[in-house]
């Protein structure tokens, strides 16, 4: 079974460990630069890309502004179409609904469409505790599951693995949970896909219950939408008798027309494709066609908390395309595990703290600092989430959450700097100390800076001293 992120160390430590893994870094470098180039090429084809981004952001902002109304419309439409609607405040409530549906049908296993929401709530582990096996059917997700590994990317959870690692894993692990891999399996992508197909087909045909998320939920018709590349999701959405969809409340869009915008933005941003190969939509129940019982779990799990955050609420626009991960210099070096959550990279660095709140957890508090604020994520984001500004705002929230107690060395330094840097006169005084300070720093050599870098040499005189000497004015 897939592990969990529980007990992960704060980002700097987890990142340091990840950086030591040369294979991981090579795999990531290769994967992110390939997809970056693909994305750049297909985005450049669209003349009105900026207008599309603005439209995407505007639709989502409108949704967030009147989320309550849209959700009630969605609920009414879903019910009218024959779906059962459940509201879940948190992970526990959502997991319980899914387990109860499965048990009501005597199911000991479910097949799963790749879904971030179900990972966020730890559904597989919760189902396992109830004696129900959850099988991932997305190829990359399957690789993670078979390896008892953690996802490392939103779109390509096994991005940190290369082909030969995957072959070894298929050979050693597939037999334990179903149809084994052929003995002569090679690392040829077609052969690997074939092995996965054989392994999964048996599961599709056997499962009575499927679990999915949704990329979009159309309020006025009660239609749920999943976009994917492989078609395995569609198998889950059509073959089993019962379908449970766990949908974050922010996934609602008012109408089908809004999808037009996102169906252009999403595939180009995520996989670098003009259009995604499979788009599945389902609206409640159709007698004799597809699942005959459909449950929809509308999930909060911190989303209303994020919504209440004036600066941060824009994170709920996210359509999980992962473009921000692929352009992030930090993510490219550390990979996704270092972020300690199912949402890694720049969006993870803001979304996790927004869902949980600052001050509660050291690991979560370290995330807003896991960025150089270079702004590449903002530039790439199809719904224009200003991630750098949200990061800075969250840093302020983290700092404020820790005020009041004994101030740490950083807080002391910032307080002192604030006094000195608020006055030219005090700064001039302090600058007289720069040279000795630099000299000491060099000899101590213990600072985080000098571990990998030289310090600059201290100048003979500061600029302001020179100016006064030359100009005599100030």
């Amino acid at each position: 079974m897939t592990g969990t992120f529980l007990g992960m160390p704060p980002f700097p430590e987890a990142a340091r460990r990840a950086l030591e893994d040369g294979t991981l870094r090579a795999n990531l470098d290769h994967a992110t630069s390939t997809i970056r180039a693909k994305r750049d090429a297909v985005v450049a084809e669209v003349e009105d890309w900026e207008e599309l981004r603005l439209a995407g952001a505007a639709i989502k902002d409108d949704v967030l502004l009147r989320l309550d109304e849209h959700l009630l419309t969605l609920e009414t439409s879903l019910r009218a179409a024959g779906a059962v609607v459940h509201w879940a405040r948190d992970a526990d409530e959502a997991c319980r609904v899914v387990a109860e549906v499965a048990k009501a049908h005597g199911a000991h296993e479910v097949v799963k469409v790749k879904s971030m929401a179900t990972q966020e709530i730890g559904l597989n582990e919760a189902l396992a505790a109830e004696g129900i096996d959850a099988w991932e059917t997305d190829l990359a997700e399957l690789i993670v599951q078979l390896g008892d590994d953690l996802p490392s990317h939103i779109l390509v959870p096994a991005i940190h693995r290369n082909r030969s690692e995957v072959r070894d894993l298929f050979r050693s692990a597939m037999g334990e949970s179903g149809v084994p891999a052929p003995d002569d399996l090679t690392d040829d992508p077609a052969r690997l896909a074939e092995a996965a197909r054989l392994h999964l087909r048996e599961k599709f045909l056997r499962a009575k219950v499927a679990v999915s998320g949704a990329n979009f939920a159309v309020a006025d018709t009660g239609t749920l939408v999943v976009v994917e590349s492989e078609g395995n999701g569609r198998m889950c959405l059509t073959l089993p008798e019962v379908l449970v969809s766990v949908v974050g409340v922010e996934k609602v869009v008012p109408s089908w027309q809004d999808l037009e915008v996102f169906f252009q933005l999403l595939p180009r941003s995520s996989t670098g494709e003009r259009m995604n190969p499979y788009t599945s939509t389902w609206t409640g129940i159709h007698t004799g066609d597809g699942p005959q019982e459909v449950h929809v779990v509308l999930l909060d799990n911190g989303r209303t908390r994020a919504l209440a955050d004036e600066v941060g609420r824009q994170a709920l626009r996210c359509i999980r395309c992962s473009a921000c991960l692929n352009v992030c210099p930090v993510y490219e070096r550390t990979g996704g595990h270092a972020y300690g959550s199912v949402y890694p990279g720049p969006i993870g660095a803001i979304l996790n703290p927004l869902l949980v709140g600052p001050g509660a957890d050291r690991q979560v508090d370290s995330l807003p600092y896991a960025s150089t604020l270079c702004g590449a994520c903002y530039e790439a984001c199809p719904v224009r989430i200003d991630i750098p500004s949200v990061l800075v705002d969250l840093r302020a929230q983290v700092v404020d959450a820790h005020r009041g107690g004994l101030p740490g060395p950083e807080a002391v330094a910032m307080k002192a700097a604030s006094r000195v840097l608020a006055s030219g006169r005090l700064l001039a005084l302090a600058e007289r100390l720069t040279t000795p300070v630099l000299r000491i720093a060099r000899y101590v050599g213990a600072s985080a800076w000098t571990r990998g870098r030289e310090l600059p040499a201290a100048p003979a005189e500061t600029f302001r001293t020179w100016w006064r000497r030359k100009e005599g004015t100030s």
Partner: protein, 249 residues
């Protein structure tokens, strides 16, 4: 037009030649630049680390020092970026409406050096001479926060004797990121090492950028690697003239 130089706290203390060269360059172009002695810092280190309350007095000093000028020039993309995009946030948080107003009035008059030269003075040929092979790294805040685009490259192209070679993956971050360089030192160094590799691949003798903070990081990595490549601020290159060369030889 009264023009002030905002030299930045970092240049003031560690890289005075960049301040001197900015002043020299502006004067050569006919700008009677002043250096208000009350200046200290733009508050960026505090803002980016999350100490917004601590940033307020620093912002107040910045506004008080510079608001009487028609234009403020700073040889730093990240400081100009901070003024334009972060001061409003700090001011709003301070709850001081007058400060917010004054800072909003001042922010659009604060220019990064290449913006001031190209947009305000309307020059790309600043009369500089610099013999050598140079590559240019567009720092993130200048590139994305300010949108300086290719202004620095336009300026470098007009420098006599200078051969500009393209830097691979130029728009990628160098990994400095202010306190990120200390808080996440290992990651910062890892990102920077890739930048250094790209710099070395150009064969250039000098790496130029418009931000001393990024250059300190990249330069620190270059000298740790004993790579023999120098880093220079854009102002240091643009200030050089034929006469300087003759004086030196």
């Amino acid at each position: 037009m009264r023009v002030a130089l905002s030299v930045t706290c970092m240049n003031d203390a560690l890289f005075p030649e960049t301040g001197r060269n900015t002043a020299k360059l502006l004067r050569r172009l006919g700008v009677d630049v002043e250096f208000p002695a009350g200046q200290a810092c733009c508050a960026q280190p505090m803002v980016n680390t999350g100490y917004l309350a601590e940033a307020v007095p620093v912002l107040r000093n910045f506004v008080r020092t510079f608001e009487e000028y028609d234009a403020v020039v700073t040889p730093s993309g990240s400081c100009a970026g901070s003024v334009r995009h972060q001061h409003a946030i700090v001011a709003r948080r301070s709850g001081d409406a007058a400060l917010a107003h004054r800072s909003a009035e001042l922010a659009p008059r604060v220019y990064e050096l290449s913006e001031f030269l190209v947009d305000v003075l309307g020059v790309t040929d600043v009369g500089a001479t610099f013999p050598g092979t140079v590559t240019y790294h567009p720092t993130c805040h200048a590139l994305r926060m300010l949108g300086t685009a290719d202004r620095p490259v336009q300026l470098l192209r007009e420098v006599r004797g200078l051969r500009l070679v393209e830097l691979l993956e130029a728009t990628e971050c160098c990994g400095f990121g202010g306190t990120f360089a200390m808080k996440n030192a290992a990651t910062s160094v890892a990102i920077g090492e890739d930048k250094v590799r790209n710099v070395l691949a150009t064969g250039a003798q000098v790496l130029v950028a418009g931000d001393r903070s990024c250059l300190t990081h990249i330069g620190g990595l270059l000298s740790r690697a004993r790579a023999g490549v120098r880093v220079m601020h854009l102002a240091d290159v643009l200030a050089r003239t034929e006469a300087d060369l003759e004086a030196a030889s």
